[in-house]
Structure formats: C-alpha cells, structure tokens
C-alpha cells in the first residue's frame, strides 16, 4: 500500500497547475521558435509573449511594459538592488529588514564587503516591519529601501502600502520582494507606490525557472543581465517562451481563483492549526495571527528539534519545512525567527506548513493523525521534556 503524499510545503515550491502545463506544452513541442527572429515561425511568438505579459500585469495592476521577465525571484531581487546602485552612483547606503529571503540578504552582505552601508531594520516580535522603523533608517545617501511583502517562513504580511508611502515621501526608491504574496494576496500597483517588485513563477503553480520584475514607468534602470534587445533592452537572454506562457497562464488562474482559494484554504489552515494546538501540549504559534498569508502556519514544539520532526513527518508522507539549524544545512537556526526575538530553543523546533489550492480536508486529517504521535515520540527521546508532558 502506498502512502498518500501530503504536500504542505507550498512556500518552498508549488506543483505546476494542469492548466498551466497544457498552456506551455505547445511551446515545448512544435512552436519552438525565437520571438526575436525575422521569420514568422519565430517572430509570431512575440505575440504570445506579449499576451503572457498582459496576463501577469493584470494580476498585479501593472502596465504590460512594466513587466520584465527574469529567470527567478532571486534574479529579480538582485536586479532591482543592483540597478538602484548603478543608477545612483553617489548613494552608498541601503535599507532592508532582518527577515528578508537569502536572495536579498546575501546580496546585501556582498555589498557591505564592497564598501556599501546596509541598515537591516528590526521587526516586531510578531514579525511585522513597521513603517516608522523604516522611515527612521533612511538617510540622504540611501539608494533604495527593500522590504518584503510577505515572509516565506512565517507568512507574516507587512504593511507595504504604508511603508512604500513613507519611503516615497523621502524621495527614495522602494523595492519589495513579493515572491510569496503574488497570487495569494490582492496586489494593485496602480495604487500602491512601489517602484520595483519581484515575483517568482514556481510559487504560484508555474514551473521553476521563471520570474519577473515589475519596474514602474519612469524608474531609472540598468540591466543586470546584459545581452540582446529582449525585454526592451532591460534583460538579455532569449525569451523563455514556454516558461513565460506558463507564468502568464498561472497569473490568470491565480487571479480567477483568488477569492475562492482564500476562503477554502484559510479554513484548511485554521483547522490544522487549531487541531495541533488542541492535541499537542507546549506548542506555540509563530508570527502575527491575522496579518499573514492565508496559506501559512508556523508553529514551534518545545523540547524537540525541527529536523527530527520533518524526518518523521516525511516517513509518514507529510512534507513540511523547518527553521531549525540542522535542516537548513547551516548551524544557525532561522534568521527570521531570531529577528523576531524567539528563543533559540523555539527556533530549532519550528515547523512550517504551507498550503495551496490543491490541498484537501484529507490532508489536514492526515497531519492531525500523525503529528501528535511524532511529537510525543521525540519528546520521549529528549532529555529536556518535563515528565508531566509524557503522562
């Protein structure tokens, strides 16, 4: 008997939606031309790319010419920051938060080594980055401020409209990593004063290897990937037609499903969370309970370690992730949870479950069925578990 797979790691990556796969297949099979070619076989594909650009722009309230296709969220992030520095060579200071994705943190660390100054602003214990904190960090030589829309580990959603407004009031460029927000949260860039925004296809049921950078009209820009005239000279590299089509289709699908998905997935997530808190003692929910993505819950189980929990969950067919040091391949637990002031013990014991539109009630049932036993077993092994928890 094969065990059912319960995939609750959708903040790591999602499945390709069947509709998306259908949409992209023709461009992997027969229509393999290059949209930049003079001949019709390739050239007519530029219309296909334009269509996808329109679909994606519609999801986030952008003009199609404000979309630059990239290879991934990381490239979009790196491009935005590098461009801000290239276009403002006299400005040597950057502002970001302590809870960004490594895509940004690594680049910031690199820039520090190159002589730039970076302010990593604090977040509240519930994970929220406050507009006031950001405003206070801005200096006359600040080139760009980058604050993520939603956090991948906790799902916590920042007040991006207010933060963007505070930054724009100071006349500074504002970028947001919205990789986790796009497709889940309603985003309307026609009213939210963001200059640049990063997104990634594989978080919204498109394949891996496609992302986009929103670049507001009139924002100074220098390409990061230099090459041909693609993307209006803003990003070199032959158009990845199948992936671009997929991202367009995924964006349209996400827009169409968003309200229904929010209602249904919130209910699943809440049932899982309540079930865990009810069935297992000494569990903590992490991050702001209201201001967070409807698909994410992060919890921490006292006295045990996250990687061990993941391994036993995986043995039971359940895929989740952890902020523990051991599971990350580094020796330090999640920088996000530590920035929230969570004690190391709880960082090591954190588990994130993240849903998608394809999860079901049966998935929640399965997790609730296996998790209490796993936690109990690991607590039995742990030297720190108070005896009363094992009775």
């Amino acid at each position: 008997m094969s065990m059912p797979l319960v995939y609750l790691d959708n903040n790591a990556t999602t499945s390709v939606a069947p509709e998306v796969l259908e949409a992209m297949l023709p461009y992997l099979r027969d229509a393999y031309g290059n949209p930049s070619s003079m001949h019709d076989f390739g050239g007519h594909l530029s219309k296909v790319v334009d269509h996808a650009r329109g679909q994606l722009a519609a999801l986030i309230g952008a003009h199609p010419d404000e979309i630059i296709f990239t290879s991934c969220g990381t490239e979009s992030d790196n491009t935005a920051i590098a461009s801000a520095l290239e276009t403002q060579p006299t400005k040597r200071h950057l502002v970001t938060t302590k809870v960004e994705h490594p895509a940004l943190i690594s680049q910031m660390n690199f820039l520090q080594k190159k002589g730039y100054e970076v302010t990593f602003v604090e977040v509240r214990p519930d994970g929220i980055c406050e507009p006031e904190t950001v405003r206070a960090a801005i200096r006359p030589d600040t080139a760009i401020v980058s604050v993520m829309w939603a956090n991948n580990e906790t799902g916590v959603i920042n007040p991006i409209a207010e933060i963007a407004a505070a930054v724009k009031e100071k006349g500074v460029l504002f970028h947001t990593d919205a990789v986790q927000a796009v497709g889940k949260e309603p985003i309307d860039l026609s009213v939210t004063p963001v200059d640049m925004l990063s997104l990634s296809g594989h978080k919204l049921h498109a394949p891996k290897g496609i992302g986009a950078l929103f670049l507001r009209r009139g924002t100074p820009f220098r390409p990061y990937i230099m090459g041909g005239h693609q993307e209006n000279g803003r990003r070199g590299g032959t158009y990845a037609v199948p992936n671009i089509v997929a991202l367009g289709a995924a964006a349209e699908l996400a827009g169409a499903h968003m309200a229904e998905e929010r209602r249904r997935v919130t209910a699943l997530r809440d049932r899982l969370e309540a079930g865990l808190l009810e069935r297992i003692p000494a569990v903590h929910r992490l991050g702001n309970p209201e201001l967070r993505l409807f698909n994410t819950t992060a919890v921490s189980f006292e006295f045990i370690e996250g990687e061990a929990i993941l391994l036993l969950l995986s043995e039971n067919g359940v895929c989740a992730s952890s902020g523990s040091a051991c599971s990350s391949g580094s020796l330090e637990p999640s920088h996000v949870l530590r920035a929230m002031g969570l004690p190391f013990e709880l960082c090591h014991a954190s588990i994130r479950f993240s849903f998608s539109r394809y999860n079901t009630d049966a998935d929640v049932d399965r997790v609730l069925e296996v998790t209490p036993g796993i936690i109990r077993e690991l607590r039995r092994i742990s030297p720190f578990t108070p005896p009363e928890l094992l009775r």
Binding site: E305, C326, L331, F344, E345, I381, S382, P383, F384
Partner: protein
Amino acid sequence: MAWDYSEKVKQHYLHPQNVGVVDNANAVGEIGSMVCGDALKLTLKIQEGTDVIEDAKFQTYGCGSAIASSSALTELIKGRTLDEALKITNQDLAVYLDGLPEEKMHCSVMGREALQAAAANYRGEAFVHEEESEYHTVCQCFSVNNLTIEHAIRENNLTSVEQVTHYTKAGGACRNCVPEIEAILQRLVPAAAVPSATDEAPPPMSMFRRIKIIEETLETDIRPALHTDSGGLELLDVSETEITVRFLGRCGSCAQSGSTLDFVQARLEKALGRPTIVREVK
C-alpha cells in the same frame, strides 16, 4: 535541505535503541544544550570491579543523525569494558552507521564526548577534556573548546575551517572564532597553509607553475600521507580548472576514496592558492 542519510542512520532514528534513563545508573554524561541545537544525556550501569558496561541508555535532543548516533553509541558500548568503550572514536561510530554526511559529523563527536563525560563521572573526576591546563572555549556560539577542536582535527585529519565546523560546529555562526580555528589548524596541520577567508581573486598562474606546484605538493605532502595508508596516487592530467588523478594500491579500492579525494583536493587548493577540481579516474 535533504540529507543523504544511510539506511542504517534511518533505522536508528526511526527505531532508536536504548532510549531513556538507566535505573540506578552509576555513570552519567551530559553534553550540549537546547540553545546549541543538540544535546545528549547518557546514563550507564557499570559493573564495579570489572568495569563492564552492563546497561546504557540515552536521551537526545537534536536532529535525525544526533538521535541515530546516540542510539548507535549505546549499542556499541553495551557489554564492553569502560576502557574498551572509550577507545571507540567518532569515526567508528560513523562507520557503524554506514557513514554520516560530513556536515553531521559533529553528532558522532557529541556521542564520544558524552561517553567521556560519563566515564569521568563514574571515576569521580570532573570532566575536563584530558589535558586540563590547556582548556578554554574557542567558539562562544556553540561552546566548543580548543581540545574538542584539536581532537577532531587529529582524529579525522581535518584540514580546513569548514571541516572543523562540520565536525564540531565551531565557527558555524558569527564566525568570530574562525581566526583561532585557523591558528589551531596551522599549528596541527603545518602543511595546510590555511587560507584566510578573503574574497580576493588569486593572481593568475601559468600552466608551467601550476603543474610544478601540483607535482611538488603530491611528492612532498600528499603521497607521504597516502603511503601510510598503503596507498598511492598517480597524476594523469592537468588543465586550467581540473586535475585528474588515479589512486593506486589500497587507496584505489578503498570505500573511503571519496574522502581521500577531498583531502587531495584540499591540499592542492591550498598549495595553489585557488579553487580547483580534482577528478578521479578508476
């Protein structure tokens, strides 16, 4: 990140042996803490007079390989005398588990240390890591002292700070202790001129010089080290980015030739002062 755990490791974390606390234990060893991310409490019942370990149980806080290492340790030491048990190295533990990912070797080191602590407790000594006088904390983040680091370097032939981190965790967080780890490595592994962590690109090197340095390092440094293992190594080809070698004698057939290859690569990179790929032809 998914670790490549052996079936044996998996068996031991899914079905750990000897979990709990021995009744009337007369030796207790505790190591690690919740803050560090792993901890092990070992309790033993040792027969007075013969010093045979009659019973051993563990409690572990930590990842899958920490649980597996603890379980394996108790299996290995039961029925042995304390002195025999103390001869078990972290390598032995890893071999018993059909290998551990290098990043997880610190779990096997933890097992050994807990046993040492338990032995000290049984003999009524304070647990002071062999030579007390030299003892101080090197890595504040993970409370790792110099003797643990030195021991790991000697026992496992470590040559880089990164390896020391994998085996002891020291240097895995703020990295303030990295210069001291480098200094310890310099002292214990003189051939390994440990490069400090700089991002500067190495100066260009001609092919002639490259080959010369490689040959010298093989002759004076690497081959002697391999011969002690009754093995040897033949240089087959050198390109701008790659070095191709073949292991001879026992090194060629040894299941550990992966780690031997790592060793050769580390030594050559150090000598050349730049990253390089060492490829093995069987």
